[in-house]
Symmetry: none
Subunit: 187 residues, 4 copies
DNA sequence: TATGAATGAGAATTCATTCAT
DNA sequence: TATGAATGAATTCTCATTCAT
């Protein structure tokens, strides 16, 4: 039941927005009553927090595994992280869109915690770039932080438009992105 | 007064979110009463629409002027569009963040109209890329639509983190982005 | 309207208790809507506070006037205070019963403020007794604080049972109480 | 367990009020679940009733024993009743405060029964006074009912402020009260 | 051009209670 | 004897909106 509530909420939060989705909407969609919601969650905000935590923790875990891989080149690791982000769109795209759009609805400690984890992801991403520079794979005449945010921006933005059932498969998008980031679009 | 209401609303919508900002909040901040709000705006949604229209129309106009410039190279035009987007963050960053985040709060025709204009911006951006390919400035072995969304994503995402009063000036960010997009980060 | 809401609330709070009286109950009794209530009061608790403040401030003011009277004996002043308390039952009995019974429903600063004012009333009452002792009107072999609480208790308790439309008029009750307090019931 | 539930409830009802204390609060404090509560009590109201009955029955029993004592003077019996009331504050003060304050939360037959027992206590108290008058111990120029309520009021009110761990011992308070009631405060 | 009183629909949340296990 | 899941009705409170002035 808790799982069902979370799934249904993610769907509705994404479609209508967190504030515009009432608890009534959620429980009606499942044929249960509001009391049930409050049996499993302390508040609407706490549920949003749970959704967000589930999303970002998963992301951080996977990112860490990629970066810590003992053999791959930094270029390959960059591909792996980009592919991870894009391939997640299908199953966790809704969670991701909620994560970014509804951040404003978290207050106090909740807000801080998410912010911190979001930063952590970016900092680790930047670490990957910096290691690539140091190893000589990436250019050393560009600011690592700006490269990071440039690439990360492209990936995150793809959550706004990429559809798995569209004409471009995930793998192609990831390769295409990498090609642009690594070699540029200039002839 | 109308201008003041719009400015105050943009500030509050950005900080607290559209749904979480009450009309009371807005008028309180200006020391007027709710009646005043309804004298100038038909509804809260219509006001959001006005904010969005103001933002996107301005953007479309400027974009058009850049693309239609009779002499510049496509590469320069790409820089101009990227710079336009980034330089707008200072004055219209709040509007932009509202534009993307609060889209879900527009219904029916309002929604369609904004969606259409947003697409128009992207399509024109893609046109710029395509012309650059045709003219031989950009690579012809990559999908124009994916290049477009990759670059646009980086720029749009910068609204989430770029601060004018930070260590990087607008011009440097634009140049840095261009460098990555054009030549890639690979050594 | 605010006045009407207060009057109606006092009536209902007394009859059913503060917690058991819903805002719906109050506004239904007046044929208005909940919004109206919240137009005039910030919360139910704040309204209770207003009722209590109105009651205790009035009491403190009158008490002060009696004590500061330049000529009367302390014995007469004691009578005046006792009579004031009893004569208030008719018009403000409900407020008084709410004041004592619902104190528990005030939190934080509200609670402290009421407590402080309640104490102030008692302290001034005790001052009256002490002055009477000093002037030689009252016995000096008894603790002033216990005398105070004994007499005050009788008066306050009368709010629980005394009805103006009963067989005993206010004046007689006050005189009767005084007679007991001053001379005792022993033959 | 039933005993524990009652004790915990008395503590919470007194501190927060009957309506403001949820069954959840009670069972949480004991580390059990709501089901347990409903195994021992039919409803929250019935539990309040049990608390009240326990309190008032005990009081009535003791009062009867005092009044029926074959040898003591009425004056001594008056002292005994006053002392009984005051000495009960330590162990049953919370119950007493609940008894008076939360009466409003009992409905129908519950309400009637408590009211009746409360009256019975007063009537018997008045009987004591009347017997004292008849025997010549107390003055016959005062209304017995008003004397009763005056003395009873003082005693009952002491539940609002008297603390066993304060500077005045129970016995002194009882003696002090008696002295005031019997001989008055006038010099 | 602006106010202030009022509305009514709906929001999140609480809670006594039930019941199968 | 006790639990835990679920209910449903009620509660406080918010808010966009209207309208007479």
């Amino acid at each position: 039941m808790k799982e069902k509530l979370l799934r249904q909420s993610i769907e509705l939060f994404e479609k209508k927005g967190f504030s515009e989705t009432s608890i009534q909407d959620i429980v009606d969609a499942l044929g249960v009553t509001k009391g049930t919601f409050y049996y499993y969650f302390k508040s609407k905000e706490q549920m949003l927090m749970q959704i967000n935590l589930h999303y970002i923790n998963d992301l951080l875990d996977t990112q860490l595994k990629i970066i810590e891989h003992p053999e791959k080149s930094w270029q390959d690791k960059l591909y792996d992280v980009v592919y991870m982000l894009i391939s997640r769109i299908e199953k966790h795209g809704a969670s991701a869109r909620i994560f970014f759009r509804e951040l404003v609805n978290l207050k106090g400690e909740y807000f801080e915690e998410i912010l911190h984890k979001r930063d952590q992801f970016r900092i680790r991403f930047q670490y990957l770039i910096e290691q690539g520079i140091e190893s000589g794979e990436f250019r050393n005449d560009l600011r690592a932080d700006l490269m990071t945010l440039s690439i990360l921006g492209s990936c995150n933005w793809s959550y706004m438009w990429f559809r798995t059932d569209g004409p471009v498969p995930e793998k192609e998008l990831a390769r295409s992105f990498l090609e642009v980031f690594l070699n540029g679009i200039k002839k």
